[in-house]
């Protein structure tokens, strides 16, 4: 069966029109919703700021506890905290990865620790931007 006959026999017109309508409708709705997303976003972010403010307050507790220590000690702590993370990163690792991991791990003053570890030669460059852990 061919031509118009086949089309209507197979319900072609209906499928074409319905299909076209549905996809147009769907994406129109989606684009409308998207165009409003920034409002929802703004609303949510307000809430988030409040909470993060609170969280800061909480976080400071351990931080303060560790700050007054002399740098000498600082290194032992940093080692204790970071070594397992380093283990996860494999034999050699990029500092950025270590930073990410350490931050996600909510460890106290990550950058300070890592710097001190580099200064004290615990983390040593392995060439081409990668580092290894020596202790």
């Amino acid at each position: 069966m061919y031509g118009l006959e086949a089309i209507s026999a197979q319900n072609g017109w209906a499928m074409a029109v319905a299909g076209a309508l549905i996809v147009m409708a769907g994406l129109t709705v989606l684009s409308l919703v998207i165009s409003q997303l920034h409002k929802i976003a703004a609303f949510l972010e307000k809430g988030a700021e409040k909470r993060s403010a609170k969280r800061q307050a909480v976080k400071t507790v351990p931080k303060e506890a560790v700050v007054p220590k002399p740098p000498a000690f600082d290194i032992e702590e940093a080692q204790a905290c970071l070594k397992p993370l380093v283990a996860e990163l494999g034999e050699s690792f990029e500092l950025t990865n270590l930073y990410e991991l350490a931050n996600s791990g909510e460890l106290p003053h990550v950058h300070l620790s890592i710097r001190s570890l580099r200064e004290s030669g615990v983390i040593v460059p392995a060439g081409d931007g990668r580092f290894v852990w020596r202790d």
Partner: protein, 374 residues
């Protein structure tokens, strides 16, 4: 020695027939386009080599051919026939795609929708040429200009056409630089092509985080049958934007999608075994595929012009051509033509937005057609 004779009568040299030769030439052509012309090499090279492998003549019933159970190719092809590879590719695509330009200009999404009209025109044409409804739908989806989507729908509706439809879809995606420009030039005035798009506003992280969830709910509530494609797609995008699972997003956009791409292309290519592939239907499919692409491009562009009748802030109708995803080929063409008409007219960013919505659009259409016909 009759053992030797018997062996030689099973060699490809002995079993060769002219249809294999044709397909071997097709495969070589794909490889040439991929390597020398660098047309969509990530797609054409695996497919092209797959075509070579699939068209080496072999003794049937031996467990070698992709259509023989327990052949290695058959096991690898399983990911195509089940639709698993396309889903995985969409996972990786999601983890690669940046929706910020679409979020900044939501109305560009309509162009992505308009370009899908090509699908429905093709559906009707295919029916008119006497294809069965399920075949017609699988052919029509070629107009979505989205390889994995076409393969997915065909695997569900008309598995026997996976080969021809995939080849057609990918060929025309590679030929975008030849198909689209004339149509774009024909349907737009120099003045329209010169229209500049405004700069994009910045999009907040929260918006980018809300989009995948919103997109999933809205699209898949409307067309649940598009879950297998859009579910992983938005999942991948959320992994990318969340920033809390970078290692997963990284693996999704490298090892995972690469692996799926390799085996998808290779086995789809190998599925074009001459005796299965070279049928009158294949010719019809190629003919309709060309129509599908052209109509999709045209409807995108025309819809852009129509929108301009109603909106005070005009958009560049060329962008309509980028609605036919074919990532990122069409966006590149649009940008090129914009630059030709006015060296300061950069359309790449908005064109990528249309691409993105075109991907979503054709995935929805796949869902619609599937649920119409099952």
């Amino acid at each position: 020695m009759d053992l030797l004779i018997q062996f030689l009568t099973n060699t490809g040299y002995y079993l060769l027939d002219f249809r294999n030769v044709i397909m071997l030439l097709v495969g070589s052509l794909f490889l040439y386009l991929a390597i020398a012309k660098e047309y969509e090499p990530l797609l054409l090279l695996p497919i092209g080599f797959g075509v070579l492998v699939g068209n080496i003549p072999f003794f049937k019933g031996f467990g070698l051919g992709i259509y023989e159970p327990n052949s290695v190719l058959h096991y690898l092809y399983f990911g195509v026939t089940t639709g698993v590879y396309p889903s995985i590719v969409f996972l990786g695509l999601g983890a690669m795609t940046d929706f910020s330009s679409l979020l900044a200009m939501p109305r560009l999404m309509l162009l992505g929708a308009a370009a899908q009209m090509g699908i429905y025109f093709t559906l009707i044409s295919a029916l008119a040429l006497g294809f069965l409804p399920k075949e017609a739908a699988s052919i029509a989806i070629i107009g979505g200009a989205d390889g994995p989507t076409s393969i997915f729908l065909t695997a569900k509706l008309a598995p026997h056409l996976i080969g021809p439809i995939a080849i057609a879809a990918y060929s025309y995606m590679a030929l975008i630089p030849i198909i689209q420009p004339p149509i774009m030039r024909l349907l737009t005035t120099q003045k329209e092509r010169r229209i500049h798009m405004p700069d994009m506003r910045d999009v907040s992280r929260t918006e980018k985080l809300l989009f995948p969830a919103a997109g999933l709910i809205l699209c898949c509530f409307l067309a649940p049958a598009s879950i297998p494609l859009l579910g992983p797609f938005f999942f991948g995008n959320l992994m990318k934007e969340s920033g809390v699972v970078d290692r997963l997003a990284q693996t999704a956009r490298t090892a995972i999608i690469d692996t799926a791409t390799i085996f998808l292309g290779f086995t789809v290519g190998a599925s074009t075994q001459a005796d299965v592939f070279l049928t009158p239907k294949a010719v019809g499919i190629f003919f309709l595929g060309a129509i599908a692409f052209s109509l999709a491009t045209a409807s995108g562009v025309l819809f852009g012009k129509i929108m301009n009748l109603f909106m005070k802030q005009k958009i560049n109708p060329l962008l309509g051509a980028a609605g036919v995803s074919a990532v990122p080929g069409s966006a590149r063409e649009v940008n090129m033509m914009g630059l030709k008409s006015d060296p300061n007219n950069f359309l790449l960013m908005p064109a990528m937005a249309c691409n993105a919505s075109g991907v979503i659009g054709s995935a929805i259409c796949a869902g619609i057609l599937w649920s119409f016909l099952v």
